[in-house]
């Protein structure tokens, strides 16, 4: 080691403390809106719009009950004539002089998000893995052009893409269908998936397959038994990225679905209660919707950089 007390690029303890303090402050501030969403989901509608905003409040699941049900306001006489409530949610709703009229659409929309998200992710990964392997291992004519073309499809604003898709789907009867949305999200996600997976495949030494093929494996067997197992982590990371994209997508869902296949993002902002947006219910919907992504992000943290830069930066 040199004569200096510390390595030239090693920061001093004071520098570290200083950096840590600033980062922690920033992290806390940046988390505030998310924490506020969660807190609001546990408030009563009155508490949620109180002035000044309430930090301490009695938590309730009213927002979640309102999220999953539709309710109608009734007269006190009618309320009195009802048999005693059977469940805690019945009781909660009745304490507001309302009765549950039925389930809301949130469950359906959430399920649509799940179906379309997983459906398109599966298809993307299936097609993307094959294409990425081919781009990684074979001399494909016009390879660079094809790869760039695949990437450039992401430069169109989604609203612009939606114009012809709308007309095409109308002709084919694919508007507002799960299949239509799965195909669309697959097409959009393929660019990301091919680029990312090609990067992961490039990192697997060719020698492995070649050795296997010398041992008598066919190309397909080598792909299946040698390359795929090696690429599992990369494929999983790519899959999660595709899933998050499909999960979060808004513009296509807004313009190409109206009910049957509508996903949660265009739906959550339209949750209304009695007079105005029902903020606790909106927050409850947002919480349930954002939570899976939070978990996935934490799982993904090692590959995050690669995913967001289309594999351009690999750390």
């Amino acid at each position: 080691m040199s004569a200096t007390a510390h390595s030239v690029i090693e920061p001093t303890a004071r520098e570290r403390r200083f950096a840590a303090t600033l980062i922690v402050i920033y992290a806390l501030v940046t988390m505030l809106p998310l924490v506020w969403i969660f807190m609001t989901s546990l408030k009563t509608p009155q508490d949620s719009i109180s002035y000044p905003p309430k930090v301490v409040f009695g938590p309730t699941l009213e927002g979640y009950v309102n999220l999953f049900t539709t309710r109608t306001r009734q007269t006190p006489e009618y309320m009195a004539s009802l048999p005693p409530p059977e469940t805690w949610w019945d009781e909660l709703v009745r304490s507001r002089n309302m009765v549950i009229a039925g389930p809301s659409k949130f469950g359906e929309r959430f399920l649509n998000s799940v179906i379309i998200g997983f459906g398109s992710t599966f298809l993307t990964i299936f097609l993307g893995t094959l294409a990425a392997y081919a781009f990684s291992r074979f001399r494909v004519p016009l390879k660079d052009d094809l790869l760039f073309f695949i990437l450039s499809t992401r430069m169109m604003p989604p609203v612009a893409v939606a114009i012809p898709i709308f007309l095409m789907y109308r002709q084919l009867g694919l508007s507002d269908t799960h299949l239509g949305m799965i195909l669309l999200y697959t097409a959009v996600n393929l660019s990301l998936a091919v680029w990312l997976l090609k990067g992961f495949m490039d990192e697997i030494p060719r020698e492995y397959e070649e050795a296997a093929m010398i041992d008598g494996y066919t190309r397909l067997q080598a792909f299946r038994k040698v390359v795929l197992p090696q690429a599992t982590t990369g494929i999983a990371a790519t899959a999660i990225f595709c899933l998050i994209f499909a999960w979060n997508e808004y513009a296509f869902a807004l313009l190409l679905t109206s009910g049957t296949a509508q996903t949660a993002p265009p739906f959550i902002p339209t949750i209304i209660g009695e007079g105005g947006l029902d903020w606790p219910a909106v927050a409850a919907g947002a919480t349930l919707f954002l939570l899976p992504v939070l978990v996935f992000t934490i799982l993904l943290r090692k590959h995050l950089l690669r995913g967001i830069t289309f594999g351009a930066v690999r750390k």
């Binding site: 719009i49 539709t70 109608t72 306001r73 007269t75 002089n97 009229a101 659409k105 709308f166 789907y169 109308r170 508007s175 507002d176 313009l255 190409l256 109206s258 009910g259 049957t260 339209t270 209304i272 009695e274 007079g275 105005g276 947006l277």
Partner: protein, 438 residues
Amino acid sequence: MRRMGLALLGSTALIGGLGSAAEAEELTLCWAAWDPANALVELSKDFTAETGVDMKFEFVPWPNFADRMLNELNSGGQLCDLMIGDSQWIGGGAENGHYVKLNDFFEAEGISMDDFAPATVYAYSTWPKGTPNYYALPAMGDANAWFYRRDWFERPELQEEFQAQYGRELAPPGTQLELLDIAEFFQGREIDGKTVYGAAIFTERGSEGITMGATGALYAWGFKYENEPGSYDMEGAVNSPEAVEALEFYKTLYECCTPPGYTDSYMQESLDAFKSGQVAMAMNWFAFFPGLYKDPVVGGDKIGFFVNPGQNVEASTLGGQGISVISYSDKQDLALDYIKWFAQPEVQQKWWSLGGYSCHNDVLNDPSFPDSQPFAADFLEAMGNVQDFWQEPTYAELLLAMQKRLHDYIVADQGTAQEALDLLIVDWTETFEDDGKL
């Protein structure tokens, strides 16, 4: 072997059962998510009880309603069998083949449009306007009107102060300018320890809010869309001195007398402001009045209602919808059955009692109607002088232009009222030229 046979039998029965469950008839009705929609759900239970047809509903909040539903219609979607579409959609619905023409059906079932209030038939059912070509049955009469805090208006100290300041009684306004006085009087006042504001009005940008609000003033000043009906000759009508004055009035009202941050508000925000005790007066559609009157906090004795005040003329902005059958539905016969059921006088009577605004003459002409609700007489009065926006097939384009010009002027404070209306004529002319009408 025997067990297997039994299992097979069981599963066939199961499949059979599933099959018949799936065949249970079902209709989907699309409408906006608001108070009357809940009433319709309640009312439709009778239809299900009578016919065994299950009713499903797709209700979309107003700010997204037109956008979502017109998109659905234009994509030829099969989400809705029945649609309670906004009055202005009738032109597009008819010309683009979204709605089924109902003349033959009305004739076969003996449903006469003479049984419905003429203003509603004209506005909700006919295309081209005023011709006996029907594409909808009037379902929900509506107009924009006002409500106020009766309990505040009746406070002696406020009455005294108002009398001293304006030289007249503190009471529901007779003209738009009186309304402004009252709004100014309440703006920023302390009532029961809370700061309150003058009036909640429509200023929403995204769908139709600010147009629906501002036309309340425009019509009252005598605004006309054309010099001659059907001529598309707008110069001098749309930008008449009266129209300019009315628009300036609406901007004054917005700037002086609305709650803070009231820049993008429509029905829900107006209800919010009123129900939370922030405003003395608010504009909104009649559709909400039954719910407001029932409100545990501000309803009952505390609320009063009044028709949109006139200025040069008496006029109200039309709301309301007719119910139509969607031509892309494969259950049109069933959908027609629903309309047939809905058109019956008894059903219409119940519709009104549940909080829907029937357009049926048997209901409206009933001598007991004006007293059946505190706002019923106002409703009749308003429906007598309603005016509606363009109902052209290009209505969305016309509306968006007006939304932009009005919001730019009133809320974003750009340009003058004269400029806004002049630009509006330019926009509209372009639309009509594109459409081959000019």
